[in-house]
């Protein structure tokens, strides 16, 4: 019974707070840049505004363009729903799996890229090709992280990984550190943050993710931006849940424990969002041809995490 309730809370929670997290990152960056900054709640207003507006669709657009926002948002939403953010006591927990997560995000990316190319503008194609280049490098790294986690805990389900870590199954492990570093790098790339992509840029020629959604307006744009915000929340929740799982409630726990888990989740997310804002202020965007170095580094870290497991076992 509780599992169903918590699952429902989770499903709506990730969507409800994602604009706030995005707004908070922007707010932190504004403050660090010496500006007053828009309220962290501004993304809610923007989304509301976009939902009110008419959706203009290019003449050359096919059904793919129209369908993509819904597919993308649904896939990302579903992916976010299966991560145990505050409790592992959820209906979907047994079905949740890191590989499924990667696949769902892949579906979202595939549809966004299709939509970017569908209208036939040069920027959409440019963005789609860059996005695919990033994806082809980031996905293996993400899978390497998944493998090393599953080798440690014997499962690819986040709920069981969390239970394993909370159960004291892992001490301070080099592999965990390496996997964390790799996952952070993947998260930066997948969310189009600096130094891979600049979400705030107006320069069409440098865009990656934004270039693909340039042609969207109204509710379509709201969904595409919503998907981006939920994806950011998803990665923060994932990093927070797996690498800092303390506070996450276990099955059979009381309501109070779940509430503590909720508070811990919010706290973790805002710490990560603040860190992201600080990091983005301190660094410049990298050249497009350096993506391979960056994500190759992430892949290597993931690989090292796996290798070290065997090395430490052998010793």
């Amino acid at each position: 019974m509780n599992a169903a309730v918590w699952q429902l809370v989770q499903v709506f929670l990730v969507v409800a707070i994602s604009p706030l997290i995005t707004g908070w990152v922007r707010f932190v960056k504004s403050r660090l840049n010496g500006r007053a900054g828009a309220s962290p709640f501004q993304p809610y207003r923007d989304t509301y505004r976009l939902l009110q507006k008419e959706a203009v669709v290019a003449h050359s657009a096919s059904w793919v363009f129209r369908a993509a926002p819904y597919v993308t948002f649904t896939a990302v939403w579903l992916a976010a729903a299966i991560i145990p953010t505050f409790t592992t006591d959820m209906v979907l927990a047994p079905a949740a799996d890191l590989i499924a997560l990667v696949a769902l995000l892949g579906v979202a990316r595939f549809w966004t890229a299709l939509a970017g190319m569908d209208v036939g503008t040069s920027f959409g194609g440019l963005g789609a090709s860059r996005e695919m280049m990033i994806a082809s490098l980031a996905e293996p790294a993400m899978l390497m992280v998944t493998f090393s986690l599953s080798l440690i805990s014997g499962t690819t389900a986040p709920a069981q990984i969390i239970a394993f870590i909370l159960g004291g199954g892992v001490g301070i492990e080099v592999s965990m550190g390496l996997a964390l570093a790799a996952l952070v790098m993947v998260a930066i790339a997948e969310n189009g943050r600096i130094p891979i992509d600049n979400p705030a840029t107006h320069l069409e020629l440098t865009m990656v993710h934004e270039a693909m959604v340039l042609e969207y307006s109204g509710r379509h744009l709201a969904l595409m931006e919503g998907a981006g915000m939920v994806r950011l929340t998803l990665y923060m929740a994932l990093i927070g849940a797996i690498f800092v799982p303390w506070g996450v409630a276990a099955p059979g726990g009381s309501v109070v424990e779940a509430m503590i888990g909720l508070a811990a989740f919010l706290a973790k997310s805002f710490v990560l969002a603040t860190a992201l804002g600080v990091f983005e202020t301190m660094i410049a965007k990298m050249r497009v041809f350096r993506y391979a170095d960056f994500l190759g580094g992430a892949l290597l870290l993931g690989l090292l995490a796996t290798i070290f497991l065997y090395v430490s076992e052998a010793v």
């Binding site: 840049n33 040069s122 860059r130 020629l205 202020t281 410049a284 965007k285 050249r287 497009v288």
Partner: protein, 506 residues
């Protein structure tokens, strides 16, 4: 021996024109003009500007060896002249514009596509004696082709996502690598030269001061100096110093903001924030001292409209102290951010040979070892007394252009301190004599050398006036600098050039 002929010796075969000051002007007939064009292939005379009149074409040249400046004019009642474009590539777009505006045909010019005329004017050749009716055929502009496996085009602009001026960029790219970039400008053509014809001097000064708003002091100063030269007016010494103060303030304001904007294009926004603060300090000081944040219409023919009070000088000194510290902190931040250096080093290299062929000045030239500065050559007061040094770098990349800006800001700050302590007393303005004449002047704006040529009637009316923006010789280099770079690096290269659209499109 031909090799030793100086520019003035060569032009002396022509007919000297009376009343052109301070540099001579010579009228060349068809044969002499053709000889000049051929001579340009061998001589290292720098093309400074080329412009037209209904039945005449003018060419402003500088002899690098002797430093002499002269204007060669070629009356062409049959509306054809030998093109300078194949001797000086910088002239190609100028001559395309001359054809669009005055209907003079540059003979021998390979590229005969229109430049400023986009087929939207009610008639062709708006400045010609007889305007031509617009052709019925639909207007078509053919971009230069690039063909090959996997090549694709990326059209960018004229309307951009940022709040910048309009211009079209046509990329031919192979994946991310730029194979060719071609610019298409002229979207902000305002008909400046048509507006200037027959206007009273004070109004003309206001128009020229708005040709390119970010260098309004440089343009107003160039116009004022040309008008003063034409009328033989001696400006009081204090006016020279006040003008230099304003010009350096403008230079600093533009340079610091450029540095910030270049870093912002690498998504390093913190630098733009710092630089925005510094620029604002300069603008507020401008307002406190001279009553206008951008110093528009303060420099006028005959002097300046507002004098600097002691209180104003003291406030400026006080502001500069904090400014210098903050500026050096920003420089340290720039130097110590490896992710930023990774973007700027080796990006968008403008080769020194090309820079010299086009005669590009300003930070574009100085980043590639070309040190020409109108403040020194031919020079104008008070810079001779300020000991100006011009920084040059050899790399020619984005970083070098940023470094030129940093160095120039330091030099300007130093000069402002000297100007404040050594400024002579006296009136800041003198009335302009009512004399007819022609004048030419060059002034160093933050971008490079601004040239203004004008012809005045006895009552002070401007009969003809041509303002020339340094961007004419920098835009083509941007096309060359981006080749072989990646598409995503274009914005940062473009920003490091920061050419003027408005000044170029006239």
């Amino acid at each position: 021996m031909m090799g030793n002929v100086t520019l003035l010796e060569f032009l002396s075969f022509g007919q000297p024109v009376e009343g052109h000051r301070p540099y001579p002007r010579f009228q060349l007939d068809k044969r002499a003009w053709q000889a000049l064009v051929e001579r340009l292939l061998a001589a290292d005379w720098v093309l400074m500007a080329e412009w037209g009149e209904p039945d005449e074409v003018h060419l402003a040249l500088r002899d690098e060896e002797t430093g002499d400046v002269a204007v060669a004019s070629h009356p062409c009642p049959e509306h054809r002249f030998f093109a300078v474009g194949h001797a000086r590539p910088g002239a190609i777009r100028l001559e395309r514009a001359i054809h669009d505006l005055w209907g003079l045909v540059p003979m021998g010019l390979e590229d005969r596509r229109p430049w400023l005329d986009h087929g939207r004017w009610p008639y062709r050749h708006p400045l010609a004696r007889h305007r031509a009716a617009r052709a019925e055929a639909p207007y078509h502009y053919a971009f230069l082709a690039a063909e090959g496996e996997g090549l694709h085009q990326i059209p960018v602009g004229p309307v951009h996502a940022g709040v910048i001026e309009p211009g079209h960029f046509r990329f031919h790219a192979q994946g991310e690598a730029v194979v060719r970039l071609e610019e298409r400008l002229g979207y902000v053509h305002k008909g400046i030269e048509g507006l200037l014809r027959g206007t009273p001097m004070d109004q003309a000064a206001r128009i020229v001061g708005r040709v390119s708003g970010d260098s309004t002091v440089a343009y107003a100063l160039a116009f004022a100096r040309a008008a003063e030269a034409a009328t033989g007016c001696e400006v009081p010494p204090r006016a020279h110093w006040l003008r230099a103060l304003m010009a350096e303030m403008e230079r600093i304001a533009n340079h610091v903001f450029d540095i910030g904007a270049i870093c912002n294009d690498a998504a390093f926004t913190i630098m733009l924030s710092h630089m925005g603060v510094l620029r604002e300090k300069i603008l507020r000081a401008n307002h406190a001292m001279f009553g206008h944040r951008l110093l528009m219409d303060v420099v006028v023919p005959g002097g300046v409209t507002r004098d600097l009070s002691d209180a104003g000088a003291e406030a400026l000194r006080h502001m500069l102290y904090g400014f210098r510290k903050a500026f050096e902190r920003a420089f340290t931040l720039y130097e110590n951010t490896p992710s930023l250096s990774d973007r700027t080093l080796g990006t968008g290299i403008a080769h020194s040979s090309l820079v010299n062929r086009f005669g590009a000045g300003g930070f574009v030239g100085r980043a590639s070892l070309r040190s020409h500065d109108a403040r020194l050559a031919p020079g104008y007061p008070p810079y001779g007394k300020l000991g100006l040094t011009v920084p040059t770098f050899s790399e020619g990349d984005v970083n070098a252009r940023v470094m030129v800006r940093f160095a120039e800001v330091r030099e300007s700050l130093r000069m402002i301190a000297e100007i404040l302590s050594d400024m002579p007393e006296g009136a800041p303005r003198t009335p302009l004599p009512q004399v007819a004449g022609e004048g030419l002047s060059m002034v160093e704006s933050f971008r490079g050398e601004v040239l203004v040529w004008l012809r005045l009637a006895e009552n002070g009316t401007v009969l003809a006036c041509h303002p020339h923006d340094p961007s004419w010789f920098q835009w083509p280099l941007l096309e060359a600098a981006i080749e072989g770079n990646i598409v995503a690096d274009f914005p940062i290269c473009n920003k490091s050039f920061n050419c003027s659209y408005s000044g170029h499109d006239l």
